[in-house]
C-alpha cells in the first residue's frame, strides 16, 4: 500500500520528516518497506498485515500517526449539495441476501459531465499508483485511497428498472466485467443486479454495460459492506483480485460506508458538476453493534512484564478510536467499527504494547527450576555424525521430493506418499529412498571436476506406512586426500563395508551378514546386508550408466531410525588381561565356492573358550595349488584369563580348529 505524505498532511500535522515517520510506523506495526520521492511528495511503501485492513487508507494510517504523535485528526469534508427531487422517488435499492451484504448505501447524482480530472487529482492518484480514468471514476478511487472504502459508480441510465437488487447469482448467469471478461456466475456469487440482470460482482468489479462513459449524465453511486469470506471466495474462484476485493476481504468499515458515499458524492459534484438527488438510500437492516471488551489493569503488567500508566492506556485507545470506560479493575473498551481484529483482552493489550512501544518493556528471562533434555536419539546421532566426519564423509541436504519411477526402482514395493499439488510433475512424491539424491549429489560434483567424493545424508523417507529416518553414504575415488608420501587407497566395497561396520560397532546391534534380498540398485556380486539395518555395495552397472558414472561408486543405506532406537551399547569395562595372548597363523587351502564366512563359522564350531579373535591376513587366488582352491591365511588369537597358555595347549587348539575345517573340505596348505 502506497501512502502519500502530502495526503496524510490533509489529516494531521506531522512533526517529523517522512523517513522518521516511516520508522515510527514500522515500530508501531505498519512495516514501511520503502520511502520514495514522487515529485514534491514523498511516498511510503507500507506492508500492511492481513489483520489490519483498516490501515489500507490514508485515514487509517493517519489514525495510527495520531496515536504515535499524540495529535488530533482533521476529518475530510463529506457533504454533497442536494437538489429538491428525492432519490427514492426515482430509484429503489433492495438487499435480498442480508447475510452477505450487511449494508448498501446509494446516492443518485444527476447532470454530471464526465471528463478528465484536474491535475492535482491526477497527480495524487498517480503518487499512490492509480491511473486516472475520468473525473467520476477518479473520485471513487480517490475516496478508496483516502478513506479505504471501496465505492462503485454506475451509469444510472443503464440500470434497468431504476433499481438495484443485491442477490446471489442464478446458476448459469453471466456478466461481462469492466475488464472485458465474460464471467460465469453461480449461486455462491453475490451480485449487484438491476431489474433484469447482474450488473456488478459485489465488492469485486462492476459490469462493462453499466460503467461510466463519456455519455453518462446520471450516476448511481454505491457504498456498501460485503461479507469478507464471500468476497474472498468469489475473487479466488474467478481469479480476480481488485483494490475493492482486497479491502472487503479484510473487512471494510460498516460505519464508513455512509461517510465515504457523501465524500465521493461531494467530490463528483465538485469535479463533474451535477446535483445530488435529495436523500440517501441506506439499506442497513441489522446494524452491527460494536464489541465491549473488559480489560483488567493487572493483566497488562502480567502480560507485558511492566505496568503502563492509566493515562497512557486511555490516550492510546482514544487516539485509535476505541472508547475506554473505567471499570472496577480496569476498563470496558468499546471497539471501533473499523477494527475487526479485536476480540479479546489480549488484543487490547497488544494495542497498548504497540503504541506504548515494544522497546519500553524490559528484557527479562523467565525464572524456573528444572533441566532440559535433548532428544533420546541425540547421543547416538552425535556419535554417527562425529564418526562420519572422522571417516571423511561430508553431510548433504537434499529436497525431499522424488520422481515416481526412480524412487520405485530404489525402493521397490514401497508405497509413496503422493503430493496433491506438487511443484513439478517430475517430483510429485515424497522420497522413499535417499539413494537417488545422494547419487545426484555425487554426479553434480563429478561433473564439476572433482574425483574423490564421500557424502552422507540423514533425512526422512516417507512410505505411506510412516516416515522414518534413514542414513545414506556414498563414496567414490580416493578414500584419502591426495598425498605424495604414499599412494592413496581407492574406495571400494571392502572400504565402505569396513566403514559401516566401524560406524555401527558402538551400537547395541547384532549384524548378521547375508546376501539375500539385496537392493536391486547394488552390484549383485559386490553387496551385502548387515542384519536388517544396512545394505552396502557397489552401484549396479545399470545405474552406473544411467547416471553416466565412469568410476566406481559405493553406496550404503542404513536404517538409522532403528540404529538410534537401539542406541549406543552401555559401556561395561572388562579387566585388562593379565596373561599374554598367543597368535597362531594357519595357511589353508579353501574350495573356491566356500566363502570366508563359512571358514570363520567352522573355526567357532571348535568351541574353544580361549579363542578371542580370528581374522584373515592373506588371500591368494592362484598359486602352486589346484585352480579350484584359493589359499587363505588366518590368524587365530588365544588367551586365557587364568594362566599363560603353553605351546602344547595352543597346538591342541589349532588341531581342534583344523579338525573342524577339514569337515568342510579345508586343508592345511603344506
Amino acid at each position: 500500500m502506497k501512502i502519500s505524505i502530502q495526503w496524510l498532511r490533509d489529516f494531521l500535522d506531522l512533526p517529523e520528516a517522512p523517513r522518521a515517520v516511516g520508522e515510527r510506523l514500522t515500530l508501531a506495526g505498519l512495516a514501511v518497506d520503502g520511502v520514495a520521492r514522487a515529485g514534491s511528495d514523498t511516498v511510503l511503501e507500507l506492508d500492511v498485515t492481513a489483520n489490519r485492513g483498516d490501515c489500507l487508507s490514508h485515514i487509517g494510517v493517519a489514525r495510527e500517526l495520531s496515536a504515535i504523535y499524540d495529535v488530533d485528526i482533521r476529518s475530510p469534508e463529506a457533504a454533497a449539495a442536494e437538489g429538491s427531487a428525492a432519490m427514492d422517488d426515482v430509484f429503489a435499492i433492495a438487499i435480498e441476501d442480508a447475510g452477505l451484504c450487511r449494508r448498501y448505501c446509494g446516492r443518485y447524482i444527476s447532470g454530471v459531465r464526465v471528463g478528465p480530472s484536474p491535475e492535482w487529482l491526477v497527480r495524487r492518484l498517480e503518487a499512490v499508483g492509480i491511473r486516472s480514468v475520468n473525473n467520476v471514476a477518479d473520485a471513487t478511487n480517490y475516496v478508496l485511497m483516502e478513506l479505504g472504502h471501496p465505492l462503485h459508480a454506475f451509469d444510472a441510465d443503464t440500470l434497468d428498472g431504476s433499481r438495484i437488487v443485491v442477490r446471489r447469482a442464478a446458476a448459469g448467469e453471466t456478466l461481462r466485467t469492466i475488464d472485458g471478461d465474460e464471467r460465469r456466475l453461480d449461486d455462491t456469487t453475490l451480485v449487484i443486479a438491476d431489474a433484469r440482470r447482474a450488473v456488478a460482482l459485489a465488492g469485486i468489479m462492476g459490469g462493462l454495460d453499466t460503467e461510466i462513459s463519456d455519455r453518462t449524465t446520471n450516476v448511481l453511486l454505491e457504498s456498501a459492506w460485503f461479507d469478507p469470506v464471500s468476497v474472498r471466495k468469489t475473487a479466488k474462484r474467478i481469479r480476480l483480485g481488485t483494490e475493492a476485493s482486497y479491502r472487503f476481504e479484510r473487512g471494510a468499515d460498516v460505519a464508513m460506508a455512509a461517510t465515504a458515499l457523501e465524500r465521493a458524492a461531494g467530490l463528483i459534484i465538485e469535479l463533474a458538476g451535477g446535483v445530488a438527488l435529495r436523500g440517501v438510500i441506506d439499506v442497513y437492516p441489522a446494524p452491527i453493534e460494536p464489541d465491549r471488551i473488559a480489560l483488567r489493569r493487572g493483566r497488562i503488567a502480567e502480560h507485558l512484564g511492566a505496568a503502563v500508566p492509566d493515562a497512557e492506556v486511555e490516550r492510546v485507545f482514544r487516539r485509535l478510536g476505541f472508547e475506554p470506560r473505567v471499570s472496577a479493575d480496569g476498563w470496558t473498551v468499546r471497539t471501533p467499527s473499523h477494527r475487526h481484529d479485536i476480540a479479546r483482552e489480549e488484543d487490547l493489550i497488544e494495542e497498548i504494547a504497540r503504541h506504548h512501544g515494544y522497546e519500553r518493556f524490559p528484557a527479562t528471562l523467565p525464572v524456573w527450576s528444572g533441566q532440559g533434555r535433548q532428544l533420546p536419539s541425540h547421543a547416538g546421532e552425535t556419535h554417527v555424525r562425529d564418526t562420519l566426519a572422522g571417516l571423511g564423509y561430508t553431510e548433504t541436504c537434499s529436497i525431499a521430493f522424488g520422481n515416481r519411477d526412480t524412487q520405485a526402482a530404489f525402493a521397490p514395493g514401497v508405497e509413496p506418499v503422493e503430493i496433491r499439488n506438487p511443484l513439478s510433475e517430475d517430483a510429485p512424491i515424497l522420497r522413499t529412498s535417499l539413494v537417488p539424491s545422494v547419487l545426484g549429489s555425487i554426479q553434480w560434483n563429478l561433473n564439476r571436476g572433482l574425483r574423490d567424493v564421500a557424502l552422507y545424508e540423514i533425512a526422512k523417507v516417507y512410505p505411506t506406512s510412516g516416515e522414518k529416518r534413514r542414513l545414506v553414504m556414498a563414496a567414490t575415488g580416493a578414500a584419502d586426500a591426495p598425498r605424495i608420501h604414499q599412494s592413496t587407497v581407492e574406495t571400494d566395497f571392502f572400504r565402505l563395508k569396513g566403514e559401516v561396520e566401524a560406524l555401527l560397532s558402538r551400537f547395541d546391534l547384532v549384524l548378521a551378514e547375508s546376501t539375500d534380498a539385496l537392493p536391486p540398485y547394488l552390484h549383485p556380486g559386490r553387496s551385502v546386508r548387515l542384519g536388517a539395518v544396512a545394505s552396502v555395495g557397489e552401484l549396479h552397472a545399470e545405474w552406473e550408466s544411467r547416471f553416466k558414472f565412469r568410476q566406481k561408486i559405493c553406496v550404503a543405506e542404513i536404517d538409522i531410525e532403528h540404529v538410534l532406537e537401539r542406541g549406543l551399547r552401555a559401556i561395561a569395562t572388562a579387566p585388562i588381561p593379565k596373561y599374554p595372548a598367543v597368535r597362531r597363523d594357519l595357511s589353508l587351502l579353501v574350495a573356491r565356492r566356500t566363502p570366508y564366512r563359512d571358514v570363520v563359522e567352522a573355526v567357532h564350531r571348535a568351541g574353544i573358550a580361549e579363542l578371542t579373535d580370528v581374522f584373515p591376513f592373506d588371500r591368494l587366488e592362484r598359486g602352486p595349488f589346484s585352480a579350484s582352491f584359493y589359499s587363505l591365511a588366518v590368524t587365530l588369537v588365544f588367551q586365557s584369563g587364568e594362566r599363560t597358555l603353553t605351546d602344547s595347549e595352543v597346538q591342541g587348539f589349532a588341531e581342534r580348529v583344523l579338525a573342524e575345517l577339514r569337515k568342510i573340505g579345508i586343508e592345511l596348505r603344506s
Binding site: 514500522t26 506495526g29 512495516a31 471466495k233 479466488k236 502480567e302 502480560h303 507485558l304 512484564g305 511492566a306 479479546r344 489480549e346 488484543d347 497488544e350 504494547a353 504497540r354 515494544y358 518493556f361 524490559p362 528484557a363 527479562t364 528471562l365 523467565p366 524456573w368 528444572g370 532440559g372 535433548q374 566426519a389 572422522g390 571417516l391 571423511g392 561430508t394 553431510e395 548433504t396 541436504c397 537434499s398 529436497i399 525431499a400 521430493f401 506418499v417 503422493e418 496433491r420 499439488n421 511443484l423 515424497l430 549429489s441 553434480w444 560434483n445 564439476r448 574423490d452 564421500a454 552422507y456 526422512k460 516417507y462 516416515e467 584419502d480 586426500a481 598425498r483 605424495i484 608420501h485
Partner: protein
Amino acid sequence: MAGIDDLRQIGERFDGEKARAADRSSLEELHARYLSRKSGLLTLEMQRLRELPADQRPAFGKLANRLKQRIESELAEREAALAGEERSAREETEALDVSLPGSRPRIGHRHPITLARRAIEDIFLAMGYTVEDGPEVETTYNNFDALNIGPEHPSRDESDTFYISDDIVLRTQTSPVQIRTMERQPPPIRIICPGRVFRRDELDATHSPMFHQIEGLVVDEGISFGDLKGTLDLLHRQFFGERTRTRLRPSYFPFTEPSAEVDVSCEFCESRGCRVCKHTGWIEMMGAGMVHPAVYDCVGYDTARYSGFAFGLGIDRYAMLKYGIDDIPLLFQNDMRFLSQF
C-alpha cells in the same frame, strides 16, 4: 724396574693404537686387547705383580691401576665422541624436506544447517529447554486449526501449502509439535522444536519449497512479553556475537498476541545501513509473540492461570546470515566447493 717399564710401553702402545681407532668396533677391540679378563695385555701384566719383589709391588700396583683407569676412561670418552658423530651422520641422512605437506586424512564437513541447528539447540538447552520433534507429514488440524489459523486463512491455499489430502499436509511450520506436546502434558512447557518444513515456493535465490525451523514454546505461570524479549536477546547475542542487538516490532500472526517481527542489528554495516539490511540497519530474523489464548483453548489449558510465548525461526536463514551465504540453492546443491568451507 722391568715391570714399570713394561707398563710404560703398554701405555705408549695404547696411545698409538687409540689414535688409529676410527670406529666403535675398533674401540671395543682395543678394550678387549688391553683389558680383557683372560688375555688383556694390561690384565696379564698386572698378574705379574706377584713375581715382583715386595718393595716394588706398591709402586707397580699403583701405576698399573692408574693406567687401567686411564685406558678405561679414554676409551669411554672416545666412544662417546664417536657415538655423537654417528648420531649426527644418521640425523643428516635421515633429514626430510619438512616443508612438504603432511599426509592429511580426509575429514568430512557438517552441513551449515546442521551446524546452525546444533548451535541454537545448545543455547536453548543451556537455558533449560527440552528438544521435541514430530512428523513432517501432519494433520491439517495440528498445522492450522489448532494454531488459530482459520479455514479461510490464505496460508492454507493450495498455492502455499503442499496437500496430501484435505486432512493431511506437509507441515508448514514446526508448531504442530507444540500442539502435540501441549496435548500430551500440562504446563510448565519449555520446549524447542527443530525440524524440516515445507512451503509451496519454487527454489530460487530467496525461496525454497523445503527449509528448517526451530520453534520455541514456553507456557508457565507469570511468563511475560519481557521474558520473550530477554530470551531472544540472549539467543542472538550468543549466536551472532555479544554486540548483536535484538529489536521486536509489532506484527500479526494468528497464534500469538501481541505478535512481533524480530530484527537483529546489521553486523555488516554496524547498523549504519547497507544492502544486506536494505539500508535500515536491521535484519528481519523471525516471528514471535505471546501465545494466543485461542491456542490454549484448543489444548485445554487454563488461560487465566498460564501465559507463555512462542517463536519460530528459520535455521537456514540464521545459517545464511552467520556464514554469509547469499543464495538459498547453495544449501541444497551439495557442491563440495561450498560444503568443504564448513
